[in-house]
Amino acid sequence: MKKLFLCTCNKTLNKWLDLERIQKEIGSTFESVKVHDALCLEEGLAFLDSEVSKDDAIVIGACTSQIIGVPLERRLKTEQVSFVPIREHVAWVHKEDKKSATNKAIILLQDGAIHVNHMEPKTAVDLQIEKKILVVGGGLAGLKVASDLVQLGVEVTLLEPPEFNKDDYVEKNQFMADSSTLKDTVNGLLATSKGAKKLNGTVTSLSGRAGLFSVIIKLDDGKEMDLLVGAIVVATHTEQSAPSLAKTSLYGKSENSVLISELATLASNKSGKTILVAQDPTYHESDAEGSYLLREVTQAAEKGNTVIVAHFNIYTKDENLYRKARESGVIFVRGTLEKVDKKKDQFVCRLENTLESQVREFTVDYIVLQPERKPWSGTRKLANTLDLNLDQSGFIKTRYSKMKPVQTSKRGIFIAGNAKTPMNLNDALASASNASLEVFKNIIAEGERKGWIPVIDEEQCDLCEACVNACPNDALRRDEDLIKHVPMNCEFCGICVSACPTRAIEFQSHKKDSWLARIEAIGANHKKLEGKKPFTLVYACSECANASIDQAGFTGKGYPTGTYVLQFPCAGMVSPIEILKGLVEGAEQVIVAHCPPGGCHHQTGDHLSELVVKFTQDMLTSIGQDPSRIKATYMIAALPNKMQEEVAHRG
């Protein structure tokens, strides 16, 4: 049975909505209409318990699904529920116009009624996971992940890249911490990670899905092995390379021009020398490298040398290193090494200040350069094999830099430590344990994961693979003459649907027919109730954009009535068809609202929806229509004024 439940929210919503008229006008759409004063409280939930049975389809007209949906999901016996946020999206934003607000509520509740008609039970995902882990990279972070997981009873294979050399690891990674701390930590981890199986080789191919990856490894002795693992952690190291200053400073030409890693040897043999240490202004150093520089110059000065640091920005998390350097007599000079002339055994160095043409000259015995820290040289190849994205500096890119520091663009593959960016010891250890945690959570995950998934119509599918390429999560694959869906990788975003040119993909509960029917009904009902008044359709993603619209309600940032929000799983699911359909049905404006740039919860929807709107605008232009009737924009909860700004009617 189709039932409607309305909530008055402590008898307040009737101030802005004519609940009686709503019941009267919408009564015939539902088998029953019940009103409650507090659906979200225990008594309300108990009421729903008694009123709703397993086979009912229900519409809840109350507060946002983001609030009431949470307790309801646990209590309701049916999965066929459509939420209509008559509080945040209607009453609280249209306080000035009760009649139109009531009309809007009626229109949205009718939309809810159509929405539930198309709803299907969610599909359960096979969560089978191989409880074995592959860690690539045998440095500090790799050892830490192995150590964490071995101690938790997980089977770990630790793969060291062929060129990786354990013996000089500590020496080559002194930028992470002072050498004795680093050495002790590495030795400690070598002991605690003993239970991990260690291999030397290269990953040559990856197949399978998150939780069940099949990895082919070419071992150093030329043999190949096939490994089945549940998750992969990439913990590769960094390499240093000469900075762009190298040429100016005669690096490679004179043996007295060296990199900072050689300063310690240099200073231990000699004292009473003058040493110029130069930073490269074109290179953005990390705090780890800044701290390293400070540690090294302090030591050199303490050995009785005169140390001048030509710098423009020193980044350290330990201010005391800076202080100690000054106290040990290091001279800090702001400026860039512009020119070096050899004069007998010495160098005449010209330092220039970038802003003012101020020049200083120093005559020194040695020039020491701060090198650049680059990702391990095999990173690009490994990323290609594993299908991971790289950032501008060639490090492996995280999925979302604020909150998901170890997740990559690919489910089931994580990064740790210096694979992400040069890190100090402390941060690298945290990063590694962070990756261990994510892996471990996957391994012990219980319960079920459910969602509406894409369903592919084999007859209609042209095998163009547009969906395979569009899916941000590698959840669609070509398998001979079929496109197959991999539910474990899927995030239920629907991006594949908008990519398919033959519309061979249907998304459960969000079928094409359902969108078209809903848009049509909104247009028709609007005309019926509001006549010629212009209306706007907002196709909002159910993540940030919907949150922004909810918050517009909470903050009372009102906007014109006749604005109807349709929630899409992701804005990337919206195709030109829904946009044009909106215009056909009479909408004055269609707005596609997505997450902030680069912030799509499904990775690419913000960008895709911008492209789709641009494309549709071009189409409109070419047929002589006004392209400004449609637009794409981002909305977030921290900007609850976005609806107000975007939904302004003309005339």
Binding site: K11, C40, E319, S401, K441, F554, A638, N641
Partner: protein, 421 residues
Amino acid sequence: MTKNAVVIGAGLAGIQVSQQLTDLGITIHLIEKEPIIGGLSTYLGRVFPTGDCALCLDASNEMYDGHHRKCQYRGLVTEKKNLKLYTQSEVKSITEADSGFKISIKSEPRYVNLDRCVVCLECIDVCDVEVADEYALRGGTRKAIYRPIPQGVPHAPLIDLEHCTKCGKCVDVCKVNAIDLEEKESSKTINTDAVIIATGVEEKIPLDFPGYEYRTSDDIISHAELARMLDPTGDTNGVVTTSAGDVVSKVTMVLCVGSRDKTAFEYCSQACCTYSLKHAEMLRELGIDVTICYMDIRVPNHSFHYLESSIEKGVKFIRGKPDKVVVRSGKPVTVVEDTQSQKLMQIESDLVVLASPLAPLGIGNDPVSAFLGEYGFAQRVVKERKVYACGTATGPTDIPTSIAEANAVALRVYSDLKGGI
């Protein structure tokens, strides 16, 4: 037996560690002294490195499949089965017991029952008492029954009894009987296996740093105050104004005020360079002129794009730490020697924003301060298998680093308490 842990402080780090541990099957008691969770993030609006909301959380396995981050208002913290949140609560004592601790906490009354309130906001509407809003900078007010910020969690309002006249109007309109003006403070003792300190930092109010006339002028402000003005839901609706109410056209920012300073806070506060750049960029987008006076610009790689785009958008940089900011004919003037040109400059602007140090909140708070070390910050593992710390409680830093550390500590606590699969 199910293990449990007490987390002190519900900032982003405390929330994150609690979420992770509940997902791993450990029961968490999360104790927060404020009426809403989020800590510093409740002031910030939008944050680097992603430019989206400060009040965003990582999803958990129990709710939303651990898939995506979610806004705080979506119930992630309040609806989890094994996560018990105590707001307006402080730890009174921590005593070692058999294998763990006995922790006694005291909770102030909210006067609004969280299990009864439907957040209709009617009570706020009918309340006649208006007082200055702690979250407002330019004279904004709130009622005696109020919600600190719109996205605040728990959603239910609270009553500031100091200003409440007990007129009973709110009680009358609250037909669900959520309001109890006679609610009393309560105490509770929790037996726990481990304690996690996530008491975070505060932005030090720059009252006592000589030379910066924060005390005398309301046009010399801190970054948290600027963040409130930039917030479209704040009392200025996102417009940056002077204390006289004029729209600002020129802003000077001073970095390292009180930080990296032997006479004040010795350490570098880590996050201020980057949030100064973030704010500079936001101000430029409003067409406001921005000059930043700095010693070093310390920006982590994940936020390097803020430096690039600040330069691109025309933010001016002066290398030098201002000796003082004075007020001349009502306007703040920053006196600074540009160490590059060695010229003494006097920059007049409408507003000066000081990057004040991030100072530990745990300090001075008795049971907690016993676990703190140098400068009032704690180690990640304070006491093997018993006391841990994460987030800015271990040192000033930004959100990504706090979150990463919270995750790392969660794993550590889990393996210490549970041992393995």
